[in-house]
Assembly symmetry: C2
Homo-oligomer: 464 residues x 2
């Protein structure tokens, strides 16, 4: 008989009530009451378990089933019984139960609370816990919500390259990618490693951003987005940094900074709304056990306008705040997480875009404002996280872009194709980068990036 | 006035007819007839251009517009006029046209046919051609169709890691990932590079497959899929191989090989149907200019059952075929592309699954069949491409899997977590890998993988 996902039964109780089904999953608990018993079965299709009722009389292998260990894989065929009076809306009365794979008494996920630190050492099993089952189902729903948002608006999804031979992206330290023998690489006459003999004929690295490539496509398709892995070889061992993480980078032609913020705000609201609708049990769980105010905060965010404040105004707010910050505040300084969180958590009490940063602390490709001091950047700060989005209008004027590249001591020749976009049908355009893990942290209340990545890669750690 | 995507106007002609719109795009052609003129404007939101009509009398900058070069970025405000009698269903009568960014006479994409080889040297501009505009729009639609297929069926999307410290995936040569100084890396007392001092505390590489990690999640969520980049450091300079490509890897618990093939077949049909519905103009273009029989073939594939044949039977078919193959055929040999294409193109004339291969030519994790010689593998071959999917039922029996690992001279300790899945609630499960670029080639008729990747990475080439 065909396997039915438990999620389908809960979603369509009317249809399934009284029907026979086969469900396959893993026992979360097994209670043996001698003449009858209960199994809480979870198949991962939804957060909820399914209660399976078995009776000794009707089930010839009752004793064998009743002594199975937690974690056993079971195939249950039985009748769906609606139980509107009970705690759970339905249960399955088992006609037959087969042990597909037993578990053992040393199964690490016994029914007790485990620390997230311990669970990180058994990343292959932690998706079977309530916390990680919910986290990764929300992660999946959020990823799909992002695709839905952009595809419905006619954006083209572009897979920008992961391996890059340009170190021009300028967003952070990079991992090198090579096939040369590390112990004895070929060397040039000068004695340095001869990258010309490497796989790509030159030095190559892992991308830190797909933006420059995405601009190539925005100048053809108008509206595009990337959604792929990006890398930072920074040895920051914090709760918010991973060496490998996923990023979404929309890029829009004929769009200015205000339009950029409109899209970013609409996207975040759309993802919140879709995830809350699709994962109500998971969100209830996070709200109860991880972050008490989560649902209320997300509902508030989804329904109210984000703040917008210039960097210059933000600095004034911080200076007047009377707060003691570890890093002092003055015009020209980069905003630290403590500043960002003060602005979004204490002052605005909602997500806020900070715009028009000093050009010295922002990337070369951002559009110069007329004041000569600032660029058309917009970072989105959210409570509990700080920066979740970094965006800008891009410099579309060839002369200004080239001058800025030279001013920073870089070589325009390295940017020939990027500059070409300004030679042939240039237009105002803008985009942003959303760190996907930070979004999942924001949606779940989970405070460590290691717990929203299936198998996190951080400095000193690449297990599993 | 707000920008309207040209695709929206074509999609909803009734609503837009007679209305004023602002469209923004790039001029494909500009024809100056002295008192009036025509612009073919493309904004990348759809394959079709929009015809803009301008009259010298109504447009004060008519002369300036008329002398713009191909590729100029224009902002056009005007009235949508339905033209049911004309070649195109509608046009826009311009009230104002602004040059957002001019082009120049040396713009490489003049209105003539360019070779794909030349266009690969201007990858930043080639998305503005008909061929690549269509290819990357189909690529985006196909990616979304895959997400739709799996999400609608309750599969959880898992981002398996890109950087891996295990070289246990066994699917091909790997790129190393490092932050050590290549010229003077730290060395151990024995004089070899000291990987313990590298970023992750050990040697790391780019993944060749997310499967083993995906199994961790299938054992919790039942049905999961990955969709991410994978890498091969093989110096194959062919039309079908790239060093970096995207792969989809579904993994299903409580599923056998027949179920695996059912999902693979349904997925391919679903993607074909969705892409043909969403990209009719693009498919028409490919059918006319790239591959004459494309649409008919795809429609046939979407509506008929795939073939299924055992490897042993396939070998018999090949032996009896009377064909001269470069590589001789006998039981035990790996199927070469020429064999695969004979089977799917000449013999079956449709996609066909070849199942139950000799265990010697397949990976260690595939489930042993009772005959002691073969494993429960299933590769899907399609006309024009050859292998597009490689799948198998996985060995879920701890003793057999451990024995096979030892038999191949590998160390079970390296697979501790993978083996754990067989210790705690093991169950039959199966999955497959779909090479996304091969799917896009199959959907478009494009014969070189370099022309379906936004910025291809192949041996000796990582430009842009």
């Amino acid at each position: 008989m065909e396997r039915t996902q438990i999620a389908r039964i809960y979603a369509d109780q009317e249809t399934f009530g009284g029907k026979e089904v086969t469900v396959c999953g893993w026992a979360r608990t097994i209670r043996d009451m001698k003449t009858f018993g209960f199994i809480e079965l979870n198949d991962g299709s939804c957060f909820k378990n399914l209660q399976v009722v078995m009776e000794a009389e009707g089930l010839e292998n009752f004793k064998d089933i009743a002594r199975q260990n937690v974690g056993a894989a079971l195939v249950v065929t039985g009748t769906v019984v609606l139980t509107p009076e009970a705690k759970q809306p339905l249960e399955v009365k088992a006609a037959s139960i087969q042990v597909e794979g037993p578990s053992s008494p040393d199964y690490p996920l016994q029914k007790k609370r485990h620390s997230v630190e311990f669970l990180r050492t058994i990343q292959h099993l932690r998706p079977r816990t309530n916390l990680f089952s919910a986290a990764f189902r929300v992660r999946s729903a959020a990823a799909y919500a992002i695709h839905n948002f952009f595809q419905e608006r006619g954006f083209v999804y572009v897979h920008t390259p992961i391996i890059t031979a340009s170190d021009c992206e300028g967003a952070g330290e990079m991992f090198r990618v090579t096939t040369l023998n590390p112990n004895d690489p070929p060397r040039t006459a000068e004695g340095v490693v001869d990258c010309a003999q490497d796989f790509f004929g030159k030095a190559a690295s892992l991308t830190v951003s797909g933006q420059l490539n995405a601009e190539n496509f925005a100048m053809a398709f108008g509206d595009v987005y990337t959604f792929g892995p990006t890398f930072r070889a920074e040895k920051s061992n914090t709760q918010r940094h991973a060496a490998e993480f996923w990023m979404i980078e929309p890029e829009m032609a004929f769009c200015d900074l205000a339009g950029d913020m409109d899209v970013a705000e609409a996207m975040i609201k759309s993802v919140i709304t879709e995830v809350m609708a699709k994962c109500p049990d998971e969100m209830e769980f996070f709200n109860s056990f991880v972050d008490k105010g989560l649902k209320e905060r997300l509902e508030h965010v989804a329904s109210s306008a984000f703040g917008r404040v210039s960097y210059t105004e933000a600095i004034e707010i911080l200076e007047k705040s009377g707060q003691k910050f570890e890093y002092p505040v003055s015009w020209g300084c980069d905003l630290q997480t403590e500043h960002e969180r003060y602005l979004t958590e204490q002052h605005f009490k909602k997500p806020v875009f900070v715009t028009d940063y000093p050009k010295e602390i922002k990337a070369f490709y951002m559009r110069a404002n007329d004041d000569g001091k600032t660029v058309a950047a917009a970072d989105c700060l959210v409570p509990g996280i700080g920066e979740i989005i970094g965006g800008s209008q891009r410099e579309e004027r060839l002369d200004l872009l080239e001058a800025r590249i030279r001013e920073l001591g870089m070589d325009p020749a390295d940017y020939w194709w990027y500059l070409d976009l300004r030679r042939y049908g240039s237009c105002k355009h803008a985009g942003f980068g959303l760190g996907f893990e930070r979004l999942v942290m924001y949606l779940t209340g989970i405070s460590n990036i290691r717990d929203v990545l299936p198998h996190p890669r951080t400095v000193g750690s690449a297990d599993f």
